[in-house]
Symmetry: C2
Subunit: 364 residues, 2 copies
C-alpha cells in the first residue's frame, strides 16, 4: 500500500470493516467457520461480519452475548450451493442461496469483501453474474499466494484456475491485476512480474506467450511493475519473481502439483521421525524448529484465492479450511478492504497500458 | 517385463549390454560422468560402454588398466553441442559431434541405448533426425519418473517437455507409450493411466482432453492398461495412477514445479535443523531416518528422461547430474536395453488401438 493512498479509503482511519461470509458451504461445517471468525475478531476489533446461511443453524453456532455475536449480523438464506454443483446449474438455481446473498452485499455497498468456502466454479459463475466483470477485463482470474524465498515470503500466482484458456491480452491483464494485488496484499512497491514458461530463453514456449511477453514488457514502466521475462516451474519458489502470470489450466496444475509435493514430503517426514526410537527422540529435540518449518509451508496460512477482475473483491477459502484457514482468509479480506483494493484494481485495469496519470488516491 | 518376453531379446541371457554415452556435455565435466560409469560397472559386470567425445580428454579421465578401461571403447568426436545451443543450429552443425555420433551407434546396431547429459532440445532434434520417429508417432515425448506413494515408488509423467503442444491423437500415443514404459521400467503388469486435468469431473478442462479421454479409454482393454480418468496436479504423488499423460508444456511446468517445491522444503528443513543447538542434536538422533527420507526424494536417483516414439531408446540425463545421477541413468538404460524396450514400444504403437494379437515376444 502506498502512503498517499491509504488515507482516502472509506474503511480507513480506524472505522469498522464489514465482511460478508458465506458460511454454509465449508466441508467442516458452520462451527469451524464461526471459530475462525472469532479467532480473527479477537485480534482485530474493527471487524464486523454479515453471515449468510440458515438462520437457525447460524444462531446456534454463535454463543449468545459473546463479542462475536455483537459484531455479527445473521442473514437467512433459503438454500445452499452444493460443493459438487455444476456452475451452469448454480447460475439457474443460485438466487437466494447463501453464496448469492453474500455477493449481493458488495453490490449494495453493505460489505467490502466476500468470503466463501464453497465450490470455486459456482462462486466464480455467480460472482460474474452478480458483480459483473470490471471494465476492460475479458477473463477474471484467481490469484493465490505461493510460499517462496522472496522478501514477502510469498509469490502470487494467477490465474490459478478461473478459466482453462488465456490469450495474450488476458495475460497482460493478469500481469496488471497481479501487480496491483502484490502492492496491496504484500506491500511490494514495485513487484517483479514473470511469465510462466518451459524455459527462460526467448524462443521457448507457445506463440501466445511470446506475444504476451511483448505486451507485458511494454506495460511495465507505466504500470509500476518490472517485467523480468519468463520464469520456469522450478523458480516459482525462488526469489527472482513476485507475480507469476499464466493461464488457468497451467496455473491450476502447477499449484496443485506444488501442494501435492509438499504434502508428500510432510507425510514422508512424519514417517521418518516415527521410524525408530532414536528418530522419535530426534523429533523431540527438533520440535520447535520443525514447528517453525511446518508453519512456513502450512497451506492453511495462505488460505484464500482472490478473484480479480470483478466489480468487487471475492475470496475463495479452501472448502476444507479449518478455523486457522478461515481466519487467514479473513485477515486477507480485511487488508484488501482497508486498502480499497477493488477500486485501485479497477483504476489500474482501466488505465491499461497507457501512460501513468498524476498519482491519485486510487493508484496502487 | 512379462515372463514370455524376456527370453527373446538379443541382450538377454547374460550377455554384454552396450550403452553409448555422450560424455562431453555434462555441466560437471567428463570426470563426473566417468565416475558414474565406474560406479555402475562395479555393480553390473555385463555393461560395456562406447564413450563419445574428445579422445584425449576421455582417455585422461579413465584410469589405464582399470576394469572401466577394459569395458569402454573411446570414440573421438570433433565437436560438442553447447548447453545453450538452439536446436535449429544443432541440426545444421551437429554432424560429427559427440551427441550425433552417440545416436549413430543405435542406427548401426552397435549400442542398444544412448545416454546424453547435453541440451534437451538439441538432443531431441538430433535424435529425430538420426533415428527418425517410430511408425505411427507424430510427436515423440519425454517420460520422467516421479516419486509417489504407489507400489513402484514412482509414477511416470509424459510428455515432460519434448513439444509444447499435443492433440488428442498425440495424447493417446503418449498413453500407449507410457504404459509400455511402465511395464518395462517399473515392472507393472497392467499400469493405471490417467490424464492430467484441472479437475476429475468429466466436464472439466479443455476440449482436446475430453476427446483424448474417449480415445484412451477405448484403447485400454487391448493395450493392457487401465484408464482411470482425469487426475489433478495434487494426485501426481499419490497412489491412484502409474502413468500421467499430458502435453509437454503442462508436463514440463508440473515437473519443475514439483522439483522446485521439493528443493525449497529441503532447504527449509536444513535451515530448521541448523537453527538452534537443540535442533542440531535432534538432527543427530534422526540422522538415519532423515537420510532415508532424503534418499527417497533425491532427484538424482530418478535421473533420466526417456525419449519415447523414436526408432531407438535415448535417455537424457540431467545436465547437472553427478556420479550418482549418471549411474541411475545407466541403470535405467541397462534395464530398457535388457528388456528390448525399443522393439516392444514400436510394436505397441504400431498395434495402436486395434485388438490385441496373440501375445508374441514383443508384447510388453
Amino acid at each position: 500500500m502506498t502512503a498517499e493512498a491509504s488515507g482516502t479509503m472509506p474503511a480507513a482511519g480506524g472505522g469498522d470493516v464489514v465482511l460478508s461470509i458465506d458460511a454454509m458451504s465449508g466441508e467442516r461445517g458452520v462451527a469451524e467457520v464461526v471459530r475462525g471468525m472469532g479467532k480473527s475478531l479477537a485480534k482485530n476489533h474493527r471487524l464486523r461480519y454479515i453471515l449468510h446461511g440458515d438462520a437457525e443453524t447460524l444462531a446456534k453456532a454463535i454463543r449468545k452475548a459473546s463479542p462475536l455475536a455483537a459484531r455479527t449480523e445473521i442473514r437467512h438464506a433459503a438454500s445452499v450451493i452444493a460443493m459438487d454443483e455444476k456452475p451452469s446449474r448454480a447460475l439457474r438455481t443460485g438466487q437466494g442461496s447463501s453464496m448469492w446473498n453474500a455477493l449481493e452485499t458488495i453490490k449494495s455497498g453493505e460489505s467490502r469483501v466476500v468470503i466463501s468456502c464453497g465450490n470455486t466454479g459456482a462462486l466464480m459463475a455467480l460472482a460474474m453474474l452478480v458483480l459483473r466483470k470490471a471494465p476492460g477485463v475479458n477473463r477474471p482470474a484467481i490469484a493465490v499466494l505461493w510460499p517462496s524465498m522472496n522478501r514477502a515470503g510469498y509469490n502470487i500466482l494467477l490465474d490459478a484456475g478461473a478459466d482453462v484458456r488465456a490469450d495474450a491480452e488476458d495475460l497482460l491483464k493478469f500481469a496488471v491485476m497481479g501487480a496491483s494485488y502484490a502492492r496491496n496484499a504484500l506491500e511490494l512497491r514495485r513487484p517483479r512480474v514473470g511469465l510462466l514458461n518451459v524455459g527462460v530463453e526467448e524462443h521457448k514456449g507457445r506463440p501466445e506467450l511470446h506475444e504476451a511477453a511483448g505486451l507485458i514488457a511494454a506495460a511495465g514502466p507505466h504500470g509500476d511493475f518490472d517485467y523480468i521475462g519468463y520464469v520456469e516451474g522450478g523458480e516459482m519458489a525462488g526469489d527472482r519473481v513476485d507475480v507469476i502470470v499464466t493461464d488457468g489450466f497451467t496455473g491450476n496444475i502447477a499449484l496443485k502439483t506444488g501442494e501435492g509435493t509438499a504434502s508428500l514430503i510432510r507425510g514422508l517426514l512424519r514417517e521418518a521421525f516415527a521410524y525408530s526410537p532414536l528418530s522419535r527422540i530426534g523429533a523431540l529435540f527438533a520440535y520447535t524448529s520443525l514447528g517453525r518449518l511446518s508453519k512456513r509451508i502450512d497451506p492453511r496460512r495462505v488460505n484464500g484465492g482472490v478473484f480479480l477482475g470483478l466489480n468487487g473483491t471475492v475470496i475463495k477459502s479452501h472448502g476444507s479450511a479449518d478455523a486457522t484457514g478461515v481466519s487467514a482468509a479473513i485477515k486477507l479480506a480485511f487488508t484488501l478492504a482497508e486498502n480499497g483494493f477493488a477500486e485501485k484494481l479497477a483504476a489500474r485495469v482501466a488505465q491499461g497500458a497507457g501512460p501513468s496519470p498524476a498519482r491519485g488516491a486510487l493508484q496502487s
